[in-house]
Every structure is written in C-alpha cells, then in structure tokens.
C-alpha cells in the first residue's frame, strides 16, 4: 500500500487555485466533509515506540480502523472493534496482530494521545474522468487522553494526498504545485510525535530501568536519596494501572520497585538515620506482602498455556476448572489490592516516604551519610560480590534448594547495587559483569520460580478439593504438572554449577577486584 503524502499548509486549501496551477483537463470533485479522530496507541512502557512503530486507531463516522506504520513507511491496516485497554487477543486476527503479538504481550494498548479534525475531501479527476488522487484537508486539535478538562492544542492545517496505485505521477505533480504555490511543507506521515510534543507527552518517557546519574563525590545520603526518588517515581507511575488491573506488568513493575527500595535501604546502609530505615523497611515489607497474592495469580494465568502444552493431550482439557478457580481468586485478590492501594495506610506511606526523600539530608545523622558515593558504592558492591562467591562455592558443594534460594537473594542484592551505581562506572567494564551475573541469576530464578510454582499448585489443588471444585481428573492434571515442575527444577539445579564457575572465574574475580575493591580493604 503506497503511503499518503502529507503537507502542512498555512491557509485553507483552495481547490480552484490548484486546478489553475495544474492547467486544463483536470477537475477536483468535492466529496462529503466529515470529522476524523485519531487515537495514538502504545503500551504504558512505549514498546511500539521503542521499535519505531506507530499505531493509530482512526475513526470516521461509525467506521474505525487501525493503522500501523513502521519506520520504513509500510502500513498495515485492519478493522478496529475493541475499546481501550486493548490486549493482543482483542486485535483482529491477521497481519496487524501478527506484527504486535510478541512485542506487546502481556501488556495492553492504551490511548496515549489523540487528534480530532474536521476533514474536507476532494478527488482529482483526469481528462478520462478517472480519479487519480484523493485529497483530504485536516484542520484539528491535539487532544490529551488524560486529565480533566482534556488539554486541547490547535495543530497546523494538513493536506493529505492519497495517490491511487499506478497514478503516482499525479500525486507528485500536485505535491510540487503545493510546495511551489501554496507554501506547503512536507511532514512525516505519522503525526503522533508532533501531537505528543504539543501535549507534553514524552514517548518512551516511562521505563522500569534504573537510570540515576551520580557523580563519585556526591555524599552517600544524597546519592541514596536520588536512587530512592527514582524508584518511588516508578512505583507511583504504576499505581493507577495496578489498581485498574489494566495488565499484569503494572503490578510487576510496582513490585520490582518495592523490592529494589527494600534492597537499597539495607544495602546502601549507614546513610540514613537507623530508626527511619527500620520504619520504611517494615512498611515496604508490608507492601511487598500485600501485593504478592495477586502477582502469584498473574503468573499462573500467564503460565497456563505453557502448563496446557506440558500435559499429556488427554489431560489438557482438565485444566479448565483450575483456570476458573484462578480467575475467581484473581478477581477477589485484585479487588482487595485495589482497595489497599486506595487506603490511608498505602497513601500515608507514599506521602511520608516522599517527604523524607524531599527533605535536605542530614549528613550528621548516620555514619556514612557524608561519605562520597564513589567510595561507598565500591565498598558495598565488593562486599556483596565476596558474599556471592563465598555462598556460591558452598552451594556448588551442596546445592540444596534453600541454599540456592539464599544465593539467589545475594545475587539480586549485588545486581541491584550494580544497577543503582551504574553511572559511576564505565559501561564497557560494568556491562559484561552484569551480564555474567544475569546468566547465573536466570538459572537461580528459574529454580526458585519452579519451586514456588510447584508449592502453590499443591496449595491450590488442596483448596480446590476442600471447596469441592476439583474433579478427580483436574487433580490428576495438577499432580502431573507438579511432577514436571519438580523435574525441571532438578535440571536447573544441575545447570547451576557450570554457570557459577563462570562467575567465579579468575578473570571475572579480577575484573571485580579492579573495579570495586576499596584501596584500604585488606581482604582479597
């Protein structure tokens, strides 16, 4: 499909003036005018934007369709039926869904910015009476999709030339005249960027990654404050989506922020007054706890297709009652979570924590509050690394599940510290270390997840049985799943030693030593 050619024009389009410019033999036939509405869609974390894709839902009268434009100008169109938030399964089967499925799931599409325009239309007709080009003039506003009242900002008038296949010459001729005589200016096909700009929406503005800029001489307390502030921003950004249960990633990102916050409170130690640290650690511990059950159910619901495939064919259908059970549980837990996130305890925590982070840090209040973060960071990372090596070597000797679980926690602390302080180290030296650690964390994470899943499945099966909701074959299916999860867990335990050896290599240890070991630290 050839893409339209879009021009900004300073004054309303005058059909007669264009015909004059084109010369005899041409005519512009006016078609009925109308209104057009674009809603630019992306996930909360801008996954489409990150891939150079632009997705708009275009509505005209009662008709609505999707338009997906890629960086190279190719367009996929499809009928749009569902209402926001829109999951992959709500998209019509076909090229559009295929293009977005892997990229988007499990996130949903949200309307991020809008455009409303009056449209006037013409057909350019040649001497044979054949239509060779369609023209549409859009005069409209960028419209915010959030806030009351909705922000509306006028946009420059645009003339859209839609060439008919095989008649591109005519479009080129008209475009040339527009530029020469009507002071038109060619603009990009998708106006999403321009609309976002005038509305103050920043595409790609959200990321769950830690991106704190620190300098080595910054006092420890100040550095910690900046890290925590960013974690708090990520947490708060996900509250509304979590409450509304838009997609599982909101809660996931919220929980990651909570975990990182708790880890930072313990790991970046001696920079805040101890009593406050204890108080907030407990409070965030509570938040981690109350958000857990919904997340567990999210994980199970996301895992179901995999579970289904893992079972023998004759048992696959018997998972259906389990699915129903999960959905009921999820509905209940989600409702409770939504209430909790609106209640005073949570709101109070957010306010108190922000007040604490916004206050000028007291550099006398804790032993390392004034210590330059460059020094503090190396000391903490080095310590955490040595602990990983120590516990890891013990785990290679005796890889019991609880030993591996503890080791995983050590590794996570190390990983978080590296992320918090990443801006203090050259990326080309730090990144390979993070990668090596990630390889180990993946296998430890899988090991732990499988253990937790097996344990939860047993718990669910018992509850379903107690509530009289479990047909015998469903229990059999769940039993088969627990068996296969345990087998996979054993396999990942076997894979652990080799991965750890890579982390514990002479080369890797040397790299850590060079980058993080404090000069004064006598330990090797």
């Amino acid at each position: 499909m050839p893409g339209p050619d879009i021009h900004e024009i300073p004054a309303p389009f005058e059909p007669a003036a264009l015909i004059d410019a084109l010369g005899p033999g041409w005519a512009l036939v006016e078609e009925p005018a109308g209104r057009r509405r674009y809603e630019f869609a992306d996930s909360f974390d801008w996954r489409l934007h990150a891939r150079g894709l632009r997705l708009a839902r275009v509505a005209e009268g009662a008709k609505r369709h999707w338009e997906l434009c890629s960086r190279d100008g190719a367009v996929i169109a499809a009928p749009a039926l569902a209402e926001f938030p829109i999951g992959v399964d709500d998209l019509p089967p076909g090229a559009l869904r295929d293009a977005l499925a892997d990229l988007l799931a499990p996130r949903v599409l949200l309307a991020r910015a809008g455009l409303e325009a009056r449209v006037r239309r013409w057909r350019l007709v040649d001497g044979d009476g054949k239509t060779v080009l369609r023209l549409a003039e859009e005069d409209g506003h960028a419209v915010a999709t959030e806030g009351t009242p909705r922000l509306r900002v006028p946009l420059p008038r645009r003339l859209i030339l839609e060439p008919l296949k095989g008649y591109d010459d005519s479009a080129d001729a008209v475009a040339a005249q527009l530029e020469r005589r009507f002071a038109a200016r060619a603009v990009p096909r998708c106006e999403c960027e321009a609309v976002c700009r005038v509305l103050g929406v920043a595409p790609g503005g959200y990321s769950s990654k830690i991106r704190v800029r620190l300098t080595p001489e910054l006092p420890g307390a100040e550095a910690a404050r900046r890290i925590h502030r960013q974690l708090l921003e990520t947490l708060e950004a996900n509250v509304a989506g979590t409450r509304a249960g838009l997609d599982p990633e909101f809660l996931h990102d919220l929980r990651v922020s909570v975990r990182r916050t708790r880890s930072a409170l313990t790991q970046i130690r001696d920079v805040f007054p101890e009593a406050r640290v204890r108080q907030f650690r407990e409070a965030f511990g509570w938040l981690g706890e109350v958000t857990g059950p919904t997340r567990d159910l999210d994980v199970f619901l996301l895992q179901l297709p995999e579970y289904h495939d893992e079972l023998p064919v004759d048992l696959q259908g018997d998972l259906e009652p389990f699915r129903g059970f999960l959905l009921d549980e999820h509905r209940r837990e989600q409702a409770q979570l939504a209430r909790r996130l609106a209640a005073p305890r949570f709101r109070g925590l957010m306010t108190e924590w922000r007040d604490f982070l916004d206050a000028e840090p007291d550099l006398e209040a804790a032993p390392d509050a004034a210590l330059p973060v460059g020094e503090l960071a190396g000391r903490r990372i080095w310590r955490a690394f040595r602990r990983v090596i120590r516990d890891g070597r013990a785990a290679v000797e005796a890889p019991a599940p609880e030993v591996l679980h503890e080791l995983r926690k050590d590794c996570k602390k190390l990983r978080y510290l590296q992320e918090f302080f990443a801006s203090l180290y050259p990326a080309e030296r730090l990144d390979p270390l993070i990668k090596a650690l990630k390889v180990l964390l993946d296998v430890l994470g899988e090991h732990q997840d499988l253990a937790v899943q097996a344990q939860h499945l047993e718990g669910f099966a018992e509850r379903m049985a107690a509530e009289g909701r479990a047909p015998a074959r469903t229990l059999l299916a769940l039993g088969a799943l627990v068996g296969s999860l345990r087998a996979r867990q054993a396999a990942s335990r076997a894979a652990f030693a080799a991965r750890f050896d890579a982390l514990d290599s002479e080369e890797n240890r040397g790299a850590y030593r060079a980058l993080f070991k404090p000069a004064a630290d006598p330990a090797a």
């Binding site: 009928p79 057909r123 044979d128 054949k130 239509t131 008919l164 296949k165 095989g166 008649y167």
Partner: protein, 249 residues
C-alpha cells in the same frame, strides 16, 4: 487470497459485466480486491476508466516484471485493476515460452497473494492455453450461461474438457445470465435441471438495459443505479459466491 475467474468458452455471455460488478461488491464488502483484465479487448478496463495499455506486457507475462508494477487503483476504495493490453492477443504464445506453460499464470499471481483478499480474472472466450492456466490458478470458475441450448452446450464442453484433463476437481459454478423471461426458450431452460456435474448458483442475472449502460457510465451498476434489478441481481450473486468462497459479503 482467493482466486475466481469469470470464464466461458462462448463470448457475449456477460462475463466482463459480472467480473466488474462482483469486483466492486467485493471491495465494498471490505476485501482488498484485484481485477485482472485478461481479455485483449479490454472491456473491464474500459468500464473502470483505466487505459488498456501495460508497459512491457511481455516482460510481465514472462515474470520478468512484477505484476504489482502494472496495477492501477480504480475509483473505488480497495478495488485495483490490472488493465488489459493489446499484446494479450498473443498471450498463448507468451505463456508457452514459460518453463511450465500450464502453470505460468499461477506463478505470476503468487507475489500479489499477500496484498489482496480476492483476485477476479476476467477471461477471454475460448479454450486455449490461457484457459488452462486459469483452470489451474483458481479456487472456482464462475461460468455465465445464457439460457439457450448453445450456451448450455459450451458448459458441457467445458466440463468434458476439465474431466479429460484431470481437472475434474476444479469448482465450476455456472449461473444463468442475460436471462429474458419474456422468451419462451429461456423460460423452458431456466425451469430445467442443468448439467449435474456442476452446482449451479441460484441467482439469475436478468437481461437489463442498466447493464448495457455500464459502457456509458463507465462504472459498476451499483455505482449509478443502486436500486435497479440488475444491481440487486449482482448483489445476490455476490452473496452466493462469497458464501461459497468463505469471504465476507
């Protein structure tokens, strides 16, 4: 992409008018539709106001130039046309030069399968290498039959030919066209059972002057006489054919 052809051994049975009207209705129903005018007379192209000339038609038929290069947008959304060219008079010879002469048409249309939901071939009358290519490329043959013994005889000839060539499983969907209920001959044939080897479509396209007007308006009937009997008949034929093809009507 589904492929159908408007085909008949006999000329003047209403192939082109049907091809153009069905293509229009398919596009209006939301299908991305391509109409390929294979008839060197170029009547379908004329009806849709597209000039009958293709740049380098021989290269196109030899597969040296993508079909898509020659496609023209019609005046109607989602409806494109591959216009005819006078060189198509020698299409048999051009196809015969291909490696697999009977499958060349199928090869040529393969690259446009992604871009369209339905391809309608408007075929010249005859039983030649072009027709054999068509038979091998289509999901169904739509065969207009005038309710006269001569026209019915060509349907039988077609079915005999397909059976003899091992193409007995090609779907053949005949329908009565240019039917004039005032003629006793037509009445008699419309009432009788056609060749049992083909499943007749129930719609009958009547002989109407609105159809002849297509050449004056240079548009499908529904575009200038939407409430006419002819427009309704084509709409009914389209619904029936779309139902059998499994596409939206």
């Amino acid at each position: 992409m589904k492929v159908v052809a408007l085909y008949s051994i006999k000329g003047g049975v209403g192939k082109t008018a049907t091809a153009v009207n069905l293509a229009y209705l398919s596009a209006a129903a939301g299908q991305r539709t391509l109409l390929w005018d294979l008839d060197p007379q170029g009547a379908a192209s004329f009806y849709l106001r597209v000039r009958t000339a293709v740049a380098k038609p021989k290269k196109l038929l030899r597969g040296k130039r993508p079909l898509d290069d020659a496609v023209k947008g019609s005046d109607f959304e989602r409806l494109d046309i591959l216009p005819a060219d006078p060189a198509y008079r020698r299409m048999d010879l051009l196809l015969d030069e291909a490696k697999k002469p009977k499958a060349q048409l199928g090869q040529l249309i393969a690259p446009v399968r992604e871009g369209y939901d339905l391809l309608i071939l408007d075929c010249p009358p005859s039983l030649t290498l072009v027709s054999e290519n068509v038979f091998r490329a289509v999901d169904a043959l739509l065969v207009p039959v005038i309710p006269t013994p001569l026209s019915l005889r060509t349907l039988t000839q077609l079915l005999d030919f397909l059976a003899a060539e091992g193409l007995g499983d090609v779907a053949v969907w005949p329908f009565y066209a240019l039917a004039d209920r005032r003629k006793r001959l037509h009445q008699g044939i419309l009432a009788a059972a056609p060749d049992p080897r083909a499943t007749m479509l129930a719609t009958v396209i009547p002989y109407r002057s609105e159809v002849e007007q297509m050449g004056v308006h240079r548009a499908p009937v529904a575009a200038y006489a939407p409430a006419s009997q002819a427009a309704e008949a084509y709409a009914a034929l389209w619904r029936e054919a779309a139902g059998r093809l499994g596409v939206a009507s």
